[in-house]
C-alpha cells in the first residue's frame, strides 16, 4: 500500500482535479436528470416500478462517477508513470513487486472513485432520491465498480504506447456512458442490441446501483457483483503480468 502513500503525497495537493471530476456527473444530473426529466415524465424500471426520471437517472450517473473516478488514474496517470517518468523502474528495485504495484494503483484509483461516488450519493440523498435502505450498500457497490474499471483500465494501459492510443480508451468509454442504460432502460432497444448492452461492464454497475437505490433487490444483482469482481481482479492480474514483461525483461 506504499503506492497509495506515494500517490497521496504526489497528488494530495490537486484537490481541484478531484472537485472537477465530482462536478461532471452532478452537472449531467442537473442537465439531463432534472432538465430533460421534466419533459419525459416517469419511467418504468426493469422491476416494474414507475419512478420519476431523475430517480431513474441518478443511480446510473453514480455508477458513471465511480467509473470515471478510477479510469483516469489507471490509464493516463499510470501510463505517465510507466512509460514517461519511469516511476515503477525505481519502485521495482525495492522489495516491491509488479503485483504490489498493480494492487496499489487499483486501491488508489478506487478510493478516489468511491470518494466521488460518495459525494454523488450525498447529493442524491439531499434531493430525496434514495428510495430504499438497500442504498446503504450503494457505497460498497460503487467501490466494486471502481475496482472493476481500475483493474481493466490498468491492464489496458499497459498496451498503450503513445498518447494517440488514448483515443481508443475514449472510444470505449463514450458509448459505455451513453448506451449502458444510464439514461433510458434497456427495454427501449431492439432485443439484439439490448442483449449486447447487457454484457457490457458499465451496465452491470448501473443495474447494481439502480437496484440498490430503488430497492429492487434480487439474486440477479449477484451476477452483476460477480461480473465486476472478476473484471477488477482479472484486470489487476493481467496488469501485473504485463508489468513484469515490460519492466523486468
Amino acid at each position: 500500500m506504499h503506492i497509495v502513500e506515494r500517490n497521496v503525497r504526489a497528488y494530495g495537493n490537486q484537490l481541484f482535479g478531484l472537485l472537477s471530476a465530482f462536478f461532471e456527473p452532478v452537472l449531467y444530473f442537473f442537465s439531463i436528470g432534472i432538465g430533460v426529466g421534466m419533459l419525459v415524465g416517469d419511467v418504468t424500471t426493469a422491476g416494474g416500478q414507475s419512478v420519476s426520471y431523475r430517480s431513474f437517472v441518478a443511480p446510473g450517473l453514480m455508477a458513471v462517477a465511480a467509473m470515471n473516478g478510477s479510469i483516469f488514474d489507471t490509464t493516463f496517470n499510470f501510463f505517465m508513470k510507466l512509460r514517461m517518468a519511469k516511476t515503477y523502474d525505481a519502485v521495482l528495485a525495492t522489495p516491491m513487486g509488479v503485483h504490489d504495484v498493480a494492487a496499489g494503483e487499483v486501491v488508489w484509483a478506487l478510493s478516489r472513485g468511491s470518494l466521488q461516488a460518495l459525494a454523488f450519493l450525498v447529493v442524491m440523498a439531499a434531493m430525496g432520491l434514495i428510495e430504499s435502505v438497500w442504498a446503504l450498500f450503494a457505497l460498497p457497490a460503487a467501490l466494486l465498480i471502481g475496482m472493476a474499471f481500475a483493474g481493466a483500465g490498468l491492464a489496458a494501459a499497459t498496451w498503450i504506447r503513445s498518447f494517440v492510443d488514448f483515443d481508443y480508451i475514449a472510444l470505449a468509454l463514450i458509448p459505455l456512458f451513453l448506451f449502458s442504460g444510464v439514461f433510458f432502460p434497456l427495454s427501449r432497444y431492439p432485443d439484439a442490441v439490448g442483449s449486447v448492452v447487457a454484457v457490457t461492464p458499465l451496465y452491470q454497475g448501473v443495474e447494481l446501483l439502480r437496484g440498490l437505490v430503488l430497492g429492487e433487490v434480487g439474486p440477479g444483482l449477484l451476477i452483476n457483483v460477480a461480473y465486476l469482481a472478476i473484471m477488477g481482479l482479472g484486470g489487476m492480474r493481467i496488469a501485473g503480468v504485463r508489468l513484469g514483461r515490460l519492466l523486468q525483461p
Binding site: E5, R6, R9, A85, T87, D89, A90, L92, A93, P95
Partner: protein, 311 residues
C-alpha cells in the same frame, strides 16, 4: 550467510533476449568491501548483468547468487538489502527532494521515524540539505544523480549497484561524485559499478572486469591489468590525414613495440617512450603531434579487442 561467502557470485551467467545473447556465460565474484567495476563499451552486456544482479531481470542460464541468496526465489529479500542507482535517473518528479527519500524508504517498509533521521543525514552527506523542499525538476544533473544515490542508500544496503554513475555529468560534478563514492567505500559499503570511462574505473575500482560483446576479456586490479596486457608507456602519434597515417604505418613496423592505428592516430606501445620517439623520427616519420603517456585501461581494452571503448 557466512562471512566468507562473496556478495555476488556468478558462474556461467547468461542473458538472452530472444536470439540475441547480451551476456555470454560470465564468471564474477565480488567480495565484501570491494569496489568492483564492469568496464566496457556500450552494448557490452554491463547493464544486463547489473539488472540480473539487481533481481529485476531473470537469469537465462548459469548460476547467480547475490548476498548468498538465489535471485529467482528470493528477489524481494535480496532487493531489500540492495541500493540501485540506474543509468537513467528515475527520480519521482511528482515529489519534492525530501519526499523522494521518504517514499522510497516506505517502499522498503521502513518506519517513518527511521527514514526521517536517515534522510536528513543522507541529504547532508550528498550536499543537498538546503534543497530538501525543492522540486526534483529544479535540480542540476549532478544534484539529481547525488539524490539518486542518496535514495539508494536509504535502506543502508549491503551492496550498492551503480550503472554508469557519471555518464552525462560535467567534469566538476563527476569529481564531486567520485569523492562521495570514495567516502562510501571508506565507510565499508561494497560498490559494484559499470562504466565506459577508463579514468572512472582507474579512480574508483579495486578490481574490475573488462567486458566486450557479452564476454569478460580480462580481470584484475587496474594496475595488474595494465601491467599484464600493456607496456608501461604509450607513444601517441597524430597525423593530419588518414593518408599520412597510411604512409607512416609501414615505416613503424620495425619498432620493437606493438603498433595500433586508431583513426588518424597511431599508438605505439613501448617501455621507453623517449627512445621510441627518437627511433620513429630517425625512421623518417614526421607526425603532426607526438605525445608520450603512461598506459591506461583504455589501452588494455584496445590491445585485447582491437577497438576503443567509445566506439
Amino acid at each position: 550467510m557466512s562471512m566468507e561467502e562473496p556478495l555476488v557470485m556468478a558462474r556461467g551467467l547468461t542473458k538472452k533476449f530472444g536470439d540475441f545473447e547480451a551476456v555470454s556465460g560470465i564468471d564474477v565474484q565480488v567480495e565484501r568491501g570491494d569496489v568492483f567495476g564492469f568496464l566496457g563499451p556500450n552494448g557490452a552486456g554491463k547493464s544486463s548483468t547489473m539488472r540480473m544482479i539487481g533481481c529485476v531481470s531473470p537469469v537465462s542460464a548459469g548460476r547467480l547468487r547475490v548476498l548468498g541468496l538465489n535471485p529467482r526465489d528470493e528477489g524481494p529479500a535480496i532487493r531489500a538489502r540492495l541500493g540501485v542507482v540506474p543509468q537513467e535517473d528515475n527520480l519521482d518528479n511528482d515529489l519534492s527532494v525530501g519526499d523522494n527519500l521518504t517514499i522510497y524508504g516506505r517502499y522498503f517498509g521502513l518506519p517513518r521515524a527511521v527514514i526521517k533521521e536517515r534522510a536528513a543525514e543522507l541529504l547532508e552527506f550528498m550536499q543537498l540539505a538546503e534543497r530538501r523542499d525543492a522540486r526534483v525538476e529544479a535540480l542540476s544533473g549532478g544534484m539529481k544523480r547525488r539524490l539518486t544515490i542518496a535514495r539508494a542508500l536509504i535502506n543502508q544496503p549491503d551492496l550498492l549497484l551503480l550503472d554508469e554513475p557519471t555518464t552525462g555529468l560535467d567534469p566538476q560534478a563527476r569529481h564531486l561524485l567520485w569523492e562521495r563514492l570514495y567516502q562510501l567505500k571508506l565507510r565499508g559499503v561494497t560498490l559494484v559499478l559499470t562504466t565506459h570511462y577508463m579514468d572512472e574505473a582507474e579512480q574508483l575500482c579495486d578490481r574490475l572486469v573488462i567486458m566486450d560483446r557479452g564476454h569478460i576479456v580480462a580481470e584484475g586490479s587496474p594496475r595488474e591489468l595494465i601491467n599484464r596486457h600493456s607496456t608501461r608507456e604509450v607513444v601517441e602519434l597524430r597525423f593530419n590525414s588518414m593518408e599520412d597515417r597510411e604512409h607512416s604505418v609501414p615505416r613503424l613496423a620495425d619498432l620493437s613495440g606493438r603498433v595500433e592505428p586508431v583513426g588518424e592516430r597511431v599508438l605505439v606501445y613501448t617501455d621507453n617512450g623517449d627512445a621510441t620517439v627518437s627511433a620513429i623520427t630517425s625512421n623518417g616519420v614526421h607526425p603532426a603531434a607526438v605525445l608520450v603517456r603512461r598506459a591506461s585501461l583504455e589501452d588494455v581494452f584496445l590491445i585485447l579487442t582491437g577497438r576503443t571503448l567509445d566506439e
